[in-house]
Subunit: 357 residues, 2 copies
């Protein structure tokens, strides 16, 4: 029986709707397992810009540092996407949070619930049994290097940077995770062209002998983008840089049938942040149709990783599994065979999960 | 009846085997349509390093400039991939060629031959009718900016750069191609994080009004990596930067069933280069099993784009189609239902194509 303080950071768009359901799941777990979870809430992204002018207000950062774990929604707003010259952007809040909290390791487990085998564009016989754990580096690369304009604004530049230290700490996390799984690590880079990738590969090669039980392979990012679809089962743990990880994990969401199912954990030096990999999805915001299962599964990751509550985490995952087995779907994971009365909205499918915890 | 001089640049690995077949197809076309094609051959990549120490010898560059079109194989060697500190690399030959010849536009048509609907990991009902034309920028981005080490080699950096001029010239090619097709252009960037992407989006927005008949959308690269698999038919022409194009077109090869089917054209200021998108594939080199259809289809692109020989190009594509309809396959595009006597090696399937021209 533990006492924990959880910060809820809904952010923008459907972030609001899905974290509300994620929080209810945490509440139910506290009740069932006799824990005390206290909550606070804070602003980030467009919501924070509207309220304070700052995508990551100091107050939010202070609350983040003071909490035991953070359940995060999503950030972004179409208004900024179509204005390349905007100086203040919702995404800056997300990136600054990652940097300030030292969240250098983004874990993205890609695992298909058997019941969703048919929700994917990929053939079931290619998918069955696929189970990949991505480690995306989250505080370096072209995301955080200098960027700007030259020649009166006519030339733009971005600097990608990695230090040995930054590569080594994420690589060690990935090696250690591989040890607890199928003992295969695929490191993804573009070492035939990019210098940061050559440093990346050097570091992996250097520390690999310390993990003799883990089989290491190096793949180029272009080949990996192809292999993930061609043969997803060949991957166990994948470790890669920030930008490549951004692209490959979104692609890999198709292995799991839908982005709406995928949770992620950002961990490192500070308080862990747990969030769906889907974005703010303004096109469906406020309609009550967003899939909250990724936020619920993010809560499960939070329980497991930040609180060491494995049984509690499994209870959540199991409840999601039961809901899918019972035939309930949100719109994004339904197909032509789904009876229309089994297609549920955000809150209704959340209730089905709560009942089964 | 035209006289043309074609340079054959096989490069490394299976590049040798497949361009030999591509050349035979060009010969057959010359004979059938009464053209005179003369040939020369030149070294690039690992083959050139072995012979001269230089991945793109001056002699090769001189021959390239003197030819009307170039049929290219592939470059690369595992020896360098696993040596991050190698100073001379086969890929430098390829990159320098692109830069020296001013080949800023890489066209990669992704179209599924109906007979290969089953060769893909993606469900036939998702694929049927997919037809995408990628324009990948080829002489800028992180490929060509400054790169190096700092802090005694402990920090690596790469600079990505784009000028308005560079974005505009590739964008115009893409807009013009969209006009001749389904009139949709998707521009892919990461404008929510990267400055070069913000410039990219600015330029597209600025010139879009000149093409009022083309419907433009902007997508982030991570979302695009997902959408290509989820719903490939939503794309018509896609235009993107060098690195994103590298990743997305390899991924998109799965829409066409296999990398072994995909051709590309690199065009711009100088002699056009036509090459498969597959690499040197040293694991199957010399075994006579490489799929030469991508090289054959590269020859078809060469005839069409560099020589304006549309009928000749169609004759090649049609012959490939007939070969597939007749049930012939190479190993990479065969499946469990393919009778083993219909699985052909490199030369044998090449002969089947030649017979049908
Ligand atoms: C919103 C954006 C800045 C972010 C990223 O690129 O990291 C998102 O795509 C993600 O993957 O968390
Ligand atoms: C070999 C490599 C340098 C090259 C690239 O990244 O451009 C290849 O992947 C390609 O797509 O032509």
């Amino acid at each position: 029986m533990a006492t924990k303080h959880i910060l809820i950071v809904p952010g923008d768009g459907i972030g609001q709707e899905v974290t509300a359901v994620g929080k209810k799941v945490l509440d139910k777990i506290a009740a069932r397992f006799g824990h005390t979870f206290t909550y606070d809430e804070a602003l980030v992204g467009h919501a924070a810009i509207e309220a304070t002018g700052n995508p990551l207000p100091d107050e939010t950062l202070t609350k983040m540092r003071a909490s035991d774990a953070i359940l995060f929604g999503a950030v972004g707003h179409p208004k900024y996407d179509n204005d390349p010259s905007a100086k203040v952007r919702p995404e800056q809040g997300l990136l600054k949070m990652r940097k300030e909290l030292g969240l250098y390791a983004n874990l993205r487990p890609i695992k298909l619930f058997d019941e969703l085998l048919d929700a994917s564009s990929i053939k079931p016989e290619i998918l069955k049994g696929a189970d990949i754990l991505f480690f995306r580096e989250l505080t370096g690369d072209i995301y955080f290097g200098d960027k700007g304009r030259k020649n009166n604004g006519d030339t733009a530049f971005d600097i990608a940077e990695y230090s040995r230290f930054e590569v080594e700490r994420i690589a060690r996390k990935a090696f250690e995770a591989a040890r607890t799984r199928r003992k295969k690590l695929c490191s993804v880079d573009k070492a035939n062209v990019i210098e940061t990738s050559r440093l990346w590969r050097e570091v992996i090669q250097k520390i690999a002998p310390e993990y003799p039980d883990v089989e290491v392979e190096h793949q180029f990012v272009d080949a990996t983008a192809m292999l993930l679809i061609k043969d997803p089962r060949r991957f166990d743990v994948v470790v890669t840089a920030n930008l490549f990880g951004d692209i490959l994990t979104d692609e890999a969401s198709q292995i799991a049938g839908s982005m709406g199912m995928l949770a992620s954990a950002s961990v490192g030096d500070g308080t862990g942040v747990y969030e769906p990999i889907h974005g703010s999805a303004h096109d469906i915001t406020g309609k009550g149709v967003a899939n909250p299962l990724a936020s619920i599964l993010s809560a499960a990751l939070l329980l497991d990783i930040s609180f060491g509550m494995k049984a509690e985490s499994d209870a959540v995952i199991n409840a999601v599994d039961q809901v899918l087995k019972a035939g309930f779907r949100t719109r994004d994971i339904a197909n032509a065979q789904t009876p229309s009365d089994m297609i549920k909205g955000t809150d209704a499918i959340g209730e089905e999960v709560l009942k089964r915890i």
